[in-house]
Symmetry: C2
Subunit: 237 residues, 2 copies
């Protein structure tokens, strides 16, 4: 029997690729998506499609209404910034930062992993081509591993939890190449922070621009933006 792993799956490029990496690593995948009151639902639709396509053993969608907690453009409390200069993308933490989001996501993933008897949790954070979120950095991930070791029955009674962040030090172009190599259905991945009512990407938020730059550097067309695929109802980016 394969060991189990919990994979945090948002429906974006990075989390979909992380799912494929965990599968390649030999785990039975239990995918976890958190419906935290995002501005739009296209992310969760993408997560469902990817999870089915890549063969999750189970896909759990957990509702946590972070919009009542507030404080982020992604939960509808401020406008999503557009066309930020690259220099600014490198430095500032933007308003799309959701307070303590990855801490919350890892915490619920940890609870589920413990229930499943899984010791491995995968998260698609990236600290190279990213928006500058503090909870995407490797030192944060290490700190959370210590919380997992000390704050759970499974951690105390034996066996260390491992938080895998296989994309932490990859550029977006490297992630895209890996996704292709591992058969990730890129056309279903959704990255835009502020899609139109039909789910089409805005092309101007940080996430769209990092994605576009990544595909350009990888020398590839983004299948989620190819008109022939969109007209086929496959693409939602």
């Amino acid at each position: 029997m394969k060991p189990r792993a919990v994979v945090l799956l948002s429906g974006g490029l990075d989390s979909a690729t992380t799912f494929a990496v965990a599968k390649r690593d030999g785990f039975e995948i239990h995918a976890l998506s958190v419906d935290y009151g995002q501005r739009h639902r296209f992310e969760l639709r993408a997560a469902k499609r990817i999870s089915a396509a890549l063969g999750a053993k189970k896909h759990l969608i957990l509702k946590i209404d972070l919009s009542v907690v507030g404080g982020s453009a992604l939960t509808g409390h401020m406008p999503v910034p557009k066309d930020r200069p690259e220099k600014q993308m490198d430095g500032d933490i933007p308003s799309t930062y959701v307070p303590a989001r990855n801490t919350i996501l890892l915490a619920v993933a940890l609870g589920w992993a413990e229930t499943l008897g899984a010791k491995d949790i995968y998260i698609g954070v990236n600290a190279v081509d990213y928006s500058g979120y503090p909870d995407c950095r490797p030192e944060f991930i290490r700190a959370f591993e210590r919380v997992a070791a000390l704050g759970t029955k499974a951690g105390v009674e034996g066996g260390r939890f491992r938080i895998h962040a296989p994309l932490a030090n990859r550029t977006k172009a490297q992630i895209i190449r890996k996704a292709v190599a591992l058969g990730v259905p890129l056309k279903w991945t959704h990255s835009c922070y502020d899609p139109d009512p039909k789910g089409r990407a805005c092309g101007r938020c940080d996430s769209c621009r990092l994605r576009e730059k990544g595909f350009a550097e990888a020398g590839m067309q983004d299948p989620a933006r190819t008109p022939s695929i969109r007209s086929n109802k496959g693409g939602i980016h």
Copy 2:
């Protein structure tokens, strides 16, 4: 203006006392209760009463359905253990342990604190007269403080988050005396893991027995169990 603090409030004796300590420390209290799919709703009713009585600036009840995650007697997946020998209460982690509960509670408290501009979070964990839960120990709290420092915008941009666990090293009797001194409405606090349909305490779960032992050691009657108060509809323990 008083600085703000987020206080995790379950409605039990310890969290109610922690609320009073935070207030005494000079904070404006923002109380957070998590409706995580507990077996019973008396806890949340207690939290509402205590929060109003002690004067929270705001009381937020956040729903996170941990019952779908499973793995605990407190979310209805196993029976609540009764009449455990004291020796066993000292050692084993019982089935009332909710996987990663305090990690999840602290994570959402951290998100809300960051939104509020608060740097102080209070949690009523206790590592003396307790059920042996790993996420009640001081080393866990310290590890979480590091996560808060590294995983938030507020932590990175300046100012350390402090996770206060003022009852960590107190016996239940000491907590009860402090509660009385600080005017906590003990009659409204709810401790039982498995109350009857009217909210009356079972008297046999770990939580009831620790509470009873605490009141006995403090040389006090438990006002939540005094018949005259119960008939007055004030007591729900």
